[in-house]
Assembly symmetry: C2
Homo-oligomer: 308 residues x 2
């Protein structure tokens, strides 16, 4: 099916666009991450192991598509996409550690501390986080230092104690809490911090790079916020219903860990309805961008349809 | 003893200057670190526990004294000093973890993972590192975003895979290596990365804040490099000769862990001579700054005289 201009409709074009973005981001990571050399090669190998060779690259895709709404060089957008994927990868490497979620499998491969060792995994996570800021601070990211600084400020807020790390702390505390202590509000806040803030920033980053008017920047951020919330419910639905073969990681582990999720609190059906409502809201925020935002619209819908 | 202008000589003024700087940095950390509130309060408590209430604040002192060579606002210098101390604190929290050096005692207190738990300590370290970049990216650090961006770029390089984290990886690998594998060159490189780069940046940061001519920035960086090397030898000498009561941490652990140090490779006497030579070189780099750099000169000498 084709639209009037003869190009594929966004929903049909999405899988190829996602694959192309993932490949471009993989190449950017390959260039930006240190090569394995010197006595500390093991660290660089572990960084590459944790950051490359897998993942949907949804956050990076959001950066690239957000940037496409404005006049942003492809190479700049790819640097920012790669930096955000480094931060996402660091969070996974640390979350998988024995003292945290104690996972052996990630993206169908042994987790970083299983493939290397615990100390190396801790350091590789630390190094990925730190290196992301080196990449953003570099002149190649944007000629205007005010833009680079704003990207760094927003990324550090999204990933820091009032964002991703704060959310992971809440997650640890929730696992140790009495069964039944969680509410829809507390789980919603946990997920907003743990995964929502970084997805929101990913959607917003292109507008920062493009020096967009504040209204457009806010619209993309709001899109990212709704998308992130829908994505988290979809992830919990997958954990509850899919198999490890489909997702490349251990499933059913939320229930096993007694972890409260919106799916557990609302039930499968109401959680699905809520995710659909979030997707519709996400799309509304894109209205001002017209056809150029077609892939972002399609991504929102895809988020709750995917099986992996 | 007083010099011609009636002020105390630098060497005599140093202890009071170090205390005053440490107190000012402690206050800055108190303001800049998140207050313990909300469900994730445990994370903020652990961040404060790891970063506050101890330490010589040598890195922060270097920032403040470096900044005093130029026209830099006190509040800006304090923000940068606090950010660097957050990064230093994060590295200690992670280095002390069971999977790393497995230490129970730090600055005379239980280490962060002993006072809280391992997951909280990992997250508190992650949060301190990330929050340091939020602080540096903030407008209050400097009105010129190019200055903020340069500080961030240099800090992330000093702390990242080609700096502090790389050095910690080398340290982990050295412990697992065959006895006798270490050379003066390999140990020197390990220490340059693990502690030297951050001390070098601390000395240089004031020049970046002050938009100093590149020659003065390089001079302060070179001072920091020699100082850092001397400091590390002094630290190893203390570990070999002092008691836990004097240092507030477990001593004799290098020998116990079979860890190669310059002290072990050169012997106490030659190591002491090398540290003294480094201190003399450090002072030479300060010649162009005149009397205003007196405390930096005195710090270099103090580094190898201290007993804690």
């Amino acid at each position: 099916m084709q639209d009037k201009t003869g190009t594929a409709l966004p929903a049909e074009a999405l899988p190829a666009a996602l694959s192309a973005a993932a490949e471009a981001i993989e190449q950017a990571l390959d260039v930006l991450l240190p090569r394995a050399e010197g006595a500390e090669a093991r660290l660089y190998e572990a960084m590459r192991y944790g950051a490359m060779g897998g993942g949907k690259r949804m956050r990076g895709f959001l950066v690239l598509e957000g940037a496409r709404q404005f006049t942003v060089s492809r190479s700049a957008a790819l640097r920012v996409a790669a930096a955000i994927e480094m931060v996402h990868a660091y969070s996974l490497v640390h979350d998988d550690l024995p003292a945290m979620d104690d996972d052996d499998l990630r993206r169908g491969k042994p987790t970083c501390h299983r493939a290397f060792d615990e100390a190396t995994a801790i350091l590789a996570g630390d190094a990925l986080l730190t290196h992301a800021f080196t990449v953003l601070a570099g002149e190649d990211t944007h000629p205007d230092p005010a833009v680079r600084c704003e990207l760094i400020r927003c990324l550090s807020l999204a990933a820091g104690p009032r964002g991703m790390v704060g959310g992971q702390m809440l997650d640890m505390l929730a696992e140790a809490a009495e069964p039944g202590a969680a509410t829809e509000a507390s789980v919603g806040r946990l997920q907003l911090l743990k995964t929502g803030k970084l997805i929101e920033f990913s959607a917003e980053a292109g507008a920062i790079l493009g020096k967009a008017p504040i209204s457009q920047r806010h619209a993309l951020a709001a899109y990212g916020r709704e998308l992130g919330a829908a994505f988290q419910i979809a992830d919990d639905l997958l954990d509850a219903t899919a198999t490890a073969g489909e997702t490349g990681k251990r499933t059913g582990k939320d229930a096993e860990a007694g972890k409260a999720t919106l799916v557990g609190l609302l039930g499968l059906e109401r959680a699905r309805i809520q995710a659909e409502a979030l997707v519709e809201q996400a799309k509304l925020h894109l209205e001002g961008f017209g056809e150029r935002a077609g892939l972002l619209c399609a991504l929102a819908a895809y988020t709750i349809e995917r099986r992996h």
